[in-house]
């Protein structure tokens, strides 16, 4: 969570901490200084109080002691002053009970004569007794003033020569004359009232000392310094002040030995003594220092705790924010998808996270749509870049802004050469200027323009371009650019030209051919007619069998040839536009019957049923071209029979809708049918459904074409519906006129199947493994003129069939060795490979399932009879198949 170097948390913590630091420190400093001031003042006051009390105590004692001395001086028996011995006794006696006095004046109580000689001393000491001390200033003072006095300090003459002061009191006689002087010596070093001052401690290291206005030290803890005047002026400020200005009180100063102390000074009332206390600052102010450290410590602790609490509080409150920020940052750096961030808190930060997630969602959506748009754009860009067409984009003035690589490839100009220029660089001068004008007019009016340019490449080569130029408009419908898409159609143009030439050549060639053939028509037909006619005449003449067969062959071949020639000539004539239709009266019923008669023979040969029917409401007395109509019908019928191996062929004529003179002819068969992909093309020239068809069925492939043309000439059309393997139905319509006299219609008869004669016994092959059945069938047919052979399985049947000829096979299906289906298949195969006409096979089956029956037909069976069968069933079935087969055997030979 780095934000400009420092984290928000750190920043806030720092700011708050500094603030705390200041407040604490300021408070601490203020408190400390106040405390210090008060403390110092208190110490000073306390010390002064202490010193003052001490002075008062000592002063009281000194005064008391001096008073006692003075009072004792009055007890001195002045009459015995000259009796030194008596005086000694007197003094001892007087002092003896005065304990305070003895204690106070610890260095001795002395009685001086007016000459200054010691005349009494308690306790006695040889060093002073009897000695003259008239030179002493205290003696001189009292002798002169006759007043009590406290001496300056000096060294005693008595060992150990302690420093002492001497209190004096004059002794007067009754006349108030100075007669003697009483003195009390006080040791300054002993632990007596004065000497004890040196033992008083101020605090631990502070001490007291006593000095007089002469700067002479009277009592001092450092006994060496007693009687010295070793504090020179200026060494100790307050010391000087106490002497010079009578200063009493406390203050900080530096002693003569350089010690920083709180000095307190107080004067005695009765003497020029000054009591001072020196309390080293180091000790006196130690509590302040301590307090200061405590203060600093507490402040520091306070700050530390504050920071800690702030950090904890902030951490608790800001961690979701930092979490959010870090997640946001990873998203920002792209290390993370635009996934929603997870923040486990409510409040403002939760709301922030929610808003952030909302923003992310919108961002994601926008990114997705942007990506999509980009992909779309890329796709479009790729499409344009890799387009097989030349793409040019210009601004509204026609200045080129973009060309695609195809442009470079086609024109030979580099992008850099054309960008900023105009497409007029491609002008060859071959394109009309009107074209350009029209182009500009069109596109500037906001329309798309399409046309063809004859342009020039960089290398000077010309090329054809099919161009489409359209304006691009912005949302306000203002034109912003033009997009030109050009396709190099030079190859197509050239090809077109070639094609045109070729077409013209072909057309003229075809015309020439048709002209030629049409012209040849007469020339070819004349000799053919002669050949056929002569053959016919020859047949009339007596001929032996061999000759007869030759002539028949000749006639047959001649007719075939003539048919082919006629087909070819017809189509030529039609194509050359020379064919014209007759318009004569004819009877439709007769025409149809005769046509059926012609093909009936072939139908019978193949075992196909043939039905010809004119519906009752069809007018039969018509005017038209009967020859051409018959040609169409025969052609379609012939085809139907040719391509049908079993089943039937039926012709039917009906009226096309309500129009009396437009008739609909349909020729339906159950033949091989036409493959779906060939249906559309069978009316084309030389087209048969399958090239193998030609081999199998023969023919020129012109029949349907001719039929189509003829039907069209008759004002109709021709079409076919077909299902491969099931059969085909050809339809055609034709317009006729009605004959004027014979409007009424003769009832149209149904052309029944042509009758055949049975001229010889049928040969039947009965195949069944069950002897019961064989016996049964034989019994059933006992009285019929049939020749019956039998086989007890499929294989035997096939063998027998190959060895002989039969008119009908009765085939059981389920048999051992070889079943009926297999046998039938093998028979059919054998027939095909030996070019035999198929022999009808009637399946005898105990399986009545349609599937089984179908299987039989698939195998090549022509019909089936379900076992067990009755006699009549069998006879009917044999008759039905037998009829067809009898023709085959009788007429087939003639036909071959």
């Amino acid at each position: 969570m780095k934000i400009r170097g420092l984290s928000l948390k750190t920043k806030m913590a720092t700011v708050v901490s500094v603030l705390f630091l200041f407040i604490f420190a300021a408070g601490a400093v203020m408190f400390e200084s106040t405390f210090e001031e008060h403390f110092k003042k208190a110490i000073a006051e306390q010390q002064y109080e202490f010193v003052s009390n001490t002075v008062r105590d000592i002063d009281t004692q000194v005064r008391e002691a001096h008073k006692i001395l003075i009072s004792v001086s009055k007890l001195i028996p002045v009459n015995d002053l000259n009796d030194y011995f008596a005086m000694q006794k007197h003094l001892e006696r007087i002092v003896q009970t005065r304990f305070f006095m003895k204690t106070f004046f610890d260095d001795g109580i002395l009685l001086y004569s007016t000459t200054g000689r010691v005349i009494g001393e308690v306790p006695y000491s040889p060093e002073r007794y009897g000695k003259d001390f008239s030179h002493r200033e205290y003696f001189q003072y009292t002798a002169r003033t006759k007043a009590p006095y406290i001496s300056k300090p000096f060294h005693s003459v008595k060992p150990p020569y302690d420093p002492i002061v001497v209190f004096t009191a004059p002794v007067f006689n009754k006349k108030q004359e100075f007669v003697a002087m009483l003195g009390g010596a006080v040791s300054l070093t002993k632990d007596t009232t004065l000497g004890n001052i040196a033992n008083i401690r101020v605090g631990k290291t502070g001490y007291m000392y006593l000095y007089n206005a002469d700067r002479t030290m009277i009592v001092h803890p450092d006994k060496e310094r007693i009687l010295r005047s070793d504090v020179p002026p200026g060494a100790n400020r307050l010391f000087d002040k106490s002497i010079n200005e009578w200063f009493e009180g406390s203050g900080e100063t530096v002693t003569s030995i350089g010690l920083h102390v709180i000095g307190t000074f107080k004067r005695f009332q009765n003497t020029d003594w000054i009591l001072a206390a020196s309390y080293p600052v180091r000790e006196a102010y130690a509590p302040i220092i301590k307090a200061r450290w405590y203060m600093v410590g507490y402040t520091a602790l306070g700050i530390f705790l504050s920071i800690l609490i702030i950090l904890i509080v902030m951490r608790r409150n800001l961690s979701p924010l930092s979490d959010l920020a870090s997640q946001a940052e990873t998203i920002g750096r792209g290390e993370r998808q635009l996934e929603s961030v997870r923040v486990a808190t409510g409040g403002e930060i939760g709301a922030l996270a929610f808003s952030f997630n909302e923003m992310l969602k919108r961002l994601r959506d926008r990114e997705t749509s942007l990506k999509k748009t980009l992909e779309e754009l890329q796709k479009l860009y790729n499409a344009v870049e890799h387009s097989s067409a030349v793409v040019i984009i210009t601004d509204t003035h026609g200045n080129i802004e973009y060309v695609n690589p195809k442009f470079v490839q086609v024109t030979g100009y580099e992008k850099s050469e054309v960008l900023g220029g105009t497409p007029s660089i491609l002008k060859s001068g071959e394109t009309l200027s009107e074209t350009y004008k029209e182009l500009w007019d069109t596109i500037q009016s906001g329309e798309e323009w399409q046309g063809i340019f004859h342009n020039k490449k960089k290398n000077g080569e010309f090329y054809w371009a099919s161009a489409s130029i359209s304006p691009l408009k912005d949302t306000k419908d203002a034109i912003t650019h033009f997009v030109g898409i050009q396709e190099d159609i030079t190859a197509i143009k050239l090809f077109e030209q070639e094609l045109q030439k070729a077409k013209e050549a072909a057309e003229s060639a075809n015309q020439a051919k048709s002209d030629f053939l049409a012209g040849m028509s007469h020339e070819i037909r004349t000799p053919m007619n002669a050949i056929i006619g002569m053959s016919e005449l020859m047949m009339e003449t007596p001929l032996n069998d061999e000759q007869k067969r030759y002539v028949e062959t000749l006639m047959h071949a001649g007719e075939n040839l003539l048919n082919i020639i006629n087909d070819i000539l017809d189509i030529s004539k039609i194509e050359a536009g020379y064919l014209e239709l007759e318009s004569t009266e004819f009877n439709l019923q007769e025409l149809l019957d005769r046509s059926c008669d012609i093909v009936a023979i072939r139908a019978r040969e193949k075992g196909i049923a043939l039905a010809c029917n004119v519906l009752s409401d069809v007018p039969v007395h018509l005017v038209g071209d009967p020859g051409r109509l018959r040609q169409v019908i025969l052609n379609l019928l012939g085809n139907a029979i040719k391509f049908t191996d079993s089943g039937e062929v039926a012709v039917e004529v009906s009226k096309e809708a309500s129009d009396r003179t437009t008739l609909l002819f349909s020729i339906r068969d159950t033949g091989i049918g036409i493959p779906e992909d060939k249906v559309g093309r069978i009316f084309e020239k030389f087209m048969q459904a399958d090239s193998s068809t030609t081999r199998k069925y023969g023919g020129t492939g012109l029949g349907l074409t001719i039929s189509k043309r003829l039907v069209e000439l008759m004002g109709g059309k021709i079409w076919v519906t077909s299902l491969e393997g099931v059969g085909s139905t050809f339809y055609f319509t034709a317009d006729f006129q009605l004959q004027k006299e014979k409007q009424e219609k003769e009832p149209a008869g149904v052309a029944t199947m042509s009758e055949g004669e049975m001229s010889r016994p049928l040969r039947i092959l009965l195949v069944d493994d069950s002897e019961d059945n064989r016996l049964l069938v034989r019994s059933f047919l006992k009285k019929m003129p049939y020749v019956i052979d039998t086989a007890d399985n499929g294989l035997a049947a096939v063998e027998r069939y190959k060895a002989s000829t039969y008119d009908l096979i009765l085939m059981d299906i389920q048999m051992p060795v070889m079943d009926g289906h297999t046998a039938t298949k093998q028979i059919r195969d054998w027939e095909r490979s030996n070019e035999r006409e198929p022999t009808p096979v009637l399946a005898l089956t105990a399986y009545a399932l349609p599937e089984e029956i179908r299987k039989g037909y698939d195998a090549g069976c022509n019909g089936h009879l379900t076992k067990p069968f009755k006699k009549n069933d069998l006879l009917n079935a044999i008759t039905a198949f037998g009829k067809k087969t009898s023709f085959h055997k009788e007429d087939g030979k003639n036909k071959e």
Binding site: S770, E771, L776, K867, K871
Partner: protein, 101 residues
């Protein structure tokens, strides 16, 4: 089962064949029983099938029906049904009275 129900009318042309046909059926019964012992249901099926195909032709519709049942039963190897049918056939053959016309 009364006698009139078993009077079968048959074409006179077939008169010569009938004894043989009935004999063949008795032989079938024996064959089926033998095949049953060997679990040779295919043989049974074929025998049933040919009974079915021939019976009606001779005029014995009942034989066609029995043959059909035997064939069906053989296909699913129902021994019990086959036994029932050959018993029925046996009884039928023993009880029929044939009239030739």
């Amino acid at each position: 089962m009364d006698d009139t129900s078993l009077i079968i009318t048959i074409d006179k042309d077939l008169e010569d064949l009938i004894p043989g046909y009935i004999e063949n059926r008795r032989r079938d019964i024996a064959s089926i029983e033998a095949a049953l012992r060997k679990n040779d249901f295919e043989t049974i099926r074929v025998l049933g099938h040919s009974m079915k195909g021939s019976g009606g032709g001779y005029g014995f519709d009942k034989i066609t029906e029995i043959g059909k049942r035997i064939e069906e039963a053989a296909k699913v190897m129902e021994t019990g049904e086959i036994n029932r049918q050959i018993a029925a056939l046996s009884e039928y053959l023993s009880n029929i009275n044939i009239v030739y016309e």
